[in-house]
């Protein structure tokens, strides 16, 4: 426990140090990053030990003057499962951040940025460790505020401020839900420790479940509470997007995993809701990721897709628990946690790579990218590995989680009955389509963004190769991604104890054995690749290779603008799924015999935003605007209000609803 506390202390110190040194940006960045790395190493070591050891959880407790509060921290297996990626990715992204902020001289001030960054790390760690409801809520708020500061730090633009505002609004709706949840769960009197939460909650299950969904699901980007995410992740600096997308959404899932058992015995209703929302999130996220033009928004929607998959897997886990099938529960929960881990590796890698490219090309518009892999082979290859990982390609990290999700669904379809079986079968279809969409999405991101010929004008100033501080952390993550593709059983093995704490009756070694052949397959794939590459090298002698232009079909001068665009690559899918996407197309021109100019533009908006939130918030705000009429210029009006209020209060005295002491 000392190590964990030390890590938190180092992060706080780092935040303070970067704040103090904010006038010297280089030193502030170094101090902040050093603290993030040191804290990450210390905390990561503690988390590793907690995951590996069979011992009981470590507890630290101290008094706190806040009502119902206590500074109680507990490091158990479940907390460690979320603390470990947080420490690892937190440290690596900090290193990346140094390079990123150095390259962005007009960007956010490193001092302020690293203050918020270290605070964010510390608060996320406290959230995973907190064993007191009040402490958890406080840490949750600090986490929200620190990440808000980071989101709005990058640009002075309206877009970033708008994204930050949206993020803040949703976070506070979520925090309100959490507060209500904690009040409903709270034990009477004393400090609100999790250990003292009564077994039978005072409120009906459905209410509590909805509160958990809103409270934690907003952070976890579960549909329909995900709408803040694409804007916020696109606006934040790359290393912050990486941390938020890879780690912060997992904190939401941590909350769900931690609090679902408090709500009462596992409930099939909750399972169906989770699987349903997960399937919608996965499909919708993947489809929307496929049509985004902004490279960072592609990744942001892909996060929604992966969050959906995790939600779906959790739903299968709950379904297994609710129907008394520990094997299914085991598979579902392991799938969820494994996917959380592999996504925590692949997504920061992608955000890092794409962020560096976006900086180098001075644009986030996919239609202006291209030729990146040729110009920056290392950066391009690292991004490619991230894409292969997250598209669940065998031999890379992402396959483990997705394979387990399929496996859990297949076994649920085989062994459960009734609605649970139907749900599992529909889940199989949804996940299969999601897999196809995400392959298409990453082919588009990489194929249009990184390959081919540069589409935009190449500025000489943009030829800055990304520095080692940017490349090194990405290389570490990429190595982990490949290793995880070869040894997926190791991930499941490490997660066996956290899962066992969620599913006490399951056999945790089962899943590890299941994943072994998948790892062998990954290695065999690598071997086959190497063998075939060697065979081709033997067949094609170096001297015989000829370089030419791409076959140009009679065109004398093929130009970069003749290449397929991101929009045209996605067009078949977006028109096939038009009823879901509702892409708006504005086409102008091409009339008459000799059309002079033409314009074509497509735009796909998130249906939850345009269909649900905008009307809802619009109605709410017009309702509030009507209250403005209460404001009148004359004093007598206010006197009338006072009299009216007095009368109301007096009238209340005669009603039985007011409890008199």
């Amino acid at each position: 426990m000392i190590a964990t506390l030390g890590a938190i202390a180092i992060w706080f110190t780092g935040a303070l140090a970067s704040f103090v040194a904010r006038r010297q940006p280089a030193r502030a960045a170094l101090l902040g990053a050093a603290a993030a790395v040191a804290g990450g190493l210390l905390g990561g070591a503690a988390a590793l030990r907690a995951i590996a050891s069979r011992g009981a959880s470590e507890v630290f407790s101290a008094g706190w003057s806040v009502p119902y509060g206590a500074l109680t921290l507990r490091l158990d297996a479940l907390a460690a499962a979320f603390l470990l990626p947080l420490c690892l990715i937190g440290a690596l992204c900090a290193v990346y951040g140094v390079g990123y902020l150095r390259a962005h001289e007009d960007g956010p001030s490193p001092g302020a940025s690293f203050t918020a960054y270290n605070l964010l790390l510390a608060s996320m760690a406290v959230v995973t460790l907190a064993a007191n409801l009040v402490l958890l809520l406080m840490a949750w708020e600090v986490m929200t505020l620190a990440s808000f500061a980071l989101v709005v730090s990058d640009q002075e633009s309206r877009a970033a401020r708008g994204a930050g505002f949206l993020y803040l609004v949703f976070s506070h709706i979520a925090a309100g839900a959490l507060l209500l949840l904690f009040i409903l769960l709270a034990p009477g009197g004393g400090s609100w420790d999790m250990a003292r939460v009564p077994a039978h909650a005072a409120a009906p299950f459905a209410w509590l479940f909805v509160l958990v969904l809103i409270g934690f699901g907003t952070k976890a980007a579960i549909v329909p509470f995900h709408v803040w995410l694409p804007d916020a992740h696109a606006a934040a600096p790359a290393h912050v997007s990486a941390l938020m997308s890879g780690v912060m959404i997992t904190i939401g899932f941590y909350g769900m995993a931690r609090f679902l058992p408090f709500l009462g015995p596992p409930n099939p209703f909750a399972a169906f809701v989770l699987v349903g929302l997960g399937a919608v999130g996965a499909l919708g996220g993947a489809l929307l990721a496929l049509v985004q033009r902004d490279a960072k928004r592609v990744l942001a929607y892909s996060t929604v897709d992966n969050a959906g998959l995790v939600t779906l897997a959790m739903g299968v886990g709950v379904m297994g628990q609710a129907t008394g099938a520990p094997r299914i529960a085991m598979l579902g929960w392991t799938a969820a946690l494994v996917h959380v881990w592999t996504h925590a590796l692949a997504k920061p890698l992608l955000f890092g790579g794409i962020g560096a490219i976006a900086h180098a090309l001075a644009s986030r518009d996919l239609e202006r990218w291209g030729g990146v892999l040729r110009r920056w082979p290392v950066l391009g290859t690292l991004t490619l590995i991230g894409g292969l990982s997250i598209a669940a390609i065998p031999g890379f990290a992402g396959v483990a989680g997705e394979w387990l999700i399929f496996r859990a669904l297949f076994e649920a379809a085989l062994s459960l009955s009734g609605p649970a079986r139907v749900t599992a079968l529909l889940g199989i279809v949804a996940v299969a389509m999601t897999a196809a969409f995400s392959v298409a999405c990453y082919v588009r991101l990489i194929g249009i963004g990184l390959l081919g010929v540069p589409r935009g004008e190449v500025r000489e100033s943009s030829r800055v190769a990304p520095g080692p501080a940017v490349i090194a952390p990405l290389a570490v993550i990429a190595m982990l991604c490949v290793t995880a593709g070869w040894f997926p059983q190791a991930i499941a093995g490490m997660l066996a104890r956290p899962v066992a704490s969620l599913v006490p009756r399951g056999d945790a070694t089962l899943v590890t054995a299941m994943l072994q052949p998948l790892g062998v397959l990954g290695m065999a794939l690598t071997g086959a690749f190497a063998l075939l590459a060697a065979l081709r090298a033997a067949l094609v002698r170096k001297s015989a290779v000829r370089e030419a232009v791409t076959w140009d079909c009679g065109y004398a001068r093929p130009g970069p603008r003749m290449q397929y665009t991101a929009a045209s690559l996605a067009e078949p899918v977006s028109s096939l799924f038009a009823p879901m996407l509702r892409t708006r197309i504005e086409a102008l021109g091409l009339t008459g015999l000799w059309p002079s100019s033409a314009r074509w533009r497509s735009r796909t908006l998130d249906q939850t935003v345009t269909g649900v939130y905008r009307p809802a918030f619009g109605g709410f705000s017009s309702l509030l605007l009507r209250l403005r009429d209460l404001q009148q210029p004359r004093v007598t009006t206010y006197l009338r209000y006072v009299v009216l209020a007095l009368l109301v209060v007096l009238a209340l005295l005669f009603l039985p609803i007011v409890v008199r002491p």
């Binding site: 394979w403 297949f410 690749f529 081709r536 000829r546 370089e547 232009v549 791409t550």
Partner: protein, 303 residues
């Protein structure tokens, strides 16, 4: 088990290039032409392997990795398919999912290789390939789900090898539907008509042919052999589903595979020459029909 499985795998690896050739020959016969000799693909492969490669100046390692992926993935996937009707060379519970994952890898790198050239022809092919995959994938998984539900197994070797007899005894209708659905998936995955047109080189009609337009020499040989092997894999899945050979002695089961694959190839040729190639907007409907058929198979079994 592994002896006959190895033999069967070797047989399939050898005769794989014959399948597209046989299908095209059938088309030629029906349309009153003589067609290319059956062994032409082998001559093509040998010739291409000896030729030098031409690479576009815009391309990177991804373009060179594409043919390797397109060959390596069906090679590995072949180890999971029970060609002898009894069991596969290698396999594990849930390898059906990995089978789909391998094919996705091949598809992904093929599309990336196409985009790497910067040519809009290849972009067009990649775009279509990816769009149709979003219907192929659910159809394939629904087939696997129906097979799993009828046999109670999760690995291809067990589903189509050992337990398929039990499936036919209990749910013949489901399995028949799965067989037809897999056949349609095969047409799409092997880029045959009415989904794709292997005979023309016109960018408006092609999917697969246009994506590999810029590959040459040994790379093209890898691509041709890889897609022929993929054809053979799916044809074998169809044969295993519709003609279970669990009870047969293994030599006979292996020997029966060859004429059965030939029948599938001829059938493909007959379909190709009797149905017009679908318009591109109709292809998803065709594939959705296959998915619906597999879904019906699942529904009948879940009842």
């Amino acid at each position: 088990m592994s002896g006959s499985a190895t033999t069967a795998l070797a047989v399939v690896l050898i005769i794989a290039p014959l399948l597209p050739s046989l299908a095209s020959r059938t088309v030629a016969f029906i349309t009153g032409r003589r067609g290319a000799p059956l062994l032409q693909p082998y001559r093509d492969l040998v010739k291409l392997l000896g030729k030098r490669a031409v690479y576009s100046r815009t391309t990177t390692g991804v373009f060179r990795a594409a043919p390797i992926a397109v060959l390596a993935t069906p090679l590995l996937a072949a180890a999971l398919v029970p060609f002898d009707g009894h069991g596969s060379l290698a396999g594990f519970a849930g390898d059906a999912i990995a089978f789909a994952g391998l094919l996705a890898l091949g598809r992904m790198l093929l599309a990336l290789g196409g985009l790497d050239t910067g040519s809009s022809f290849e972009g067009m092919g990649a775009s279509r390939e990816l769009a149709f995959a979003s219907f192929i994938e659910p159809a394939l998984f629904l087939c696997f789900a129906a097979l799993a539900l009828t046999t109670g197994e999760l690995s291809l070797g067990r589903m189509l090898g050992g337990a398929i007899d039990r499936g036919w005894a209990q749910a013949p209708a489901s399995l028949a539907m799965v067989g037809v659905s897999l056949f349609v998936v095969m047409l799409a995955e092997a880029s045959r008509g009415p989904v794709d047109d292997p005979a023309t080189h016109l960018e408006l009609t092609m999917i697969h042919e246009v994506t590999i337009l810029d590959h040459s020499g040994p790379d093209l040989a890898f691509l041709l052999y890889g897609s022929a092997l993929k054809f053979a894999l799916f044809a074998a899945l169809v044969v295993d589903t519709l003609m279970p050979r669990t009870g047969w002695p293994t030599p006979l089961a292996v020997a029966a595979l060859i004429p059965a694959l030939a029948v599938v190839a001829v059938l493909v040729g007959v379909i190709e020459s009797t149905f017009a190639r679908l318009r591109l907007v109709q292809v998803p409907q065709f594939l959705a029909g296959a998915a619906a058929l597999a879904a019906l198979g699942v529904i009948l079994r879940v009842r």
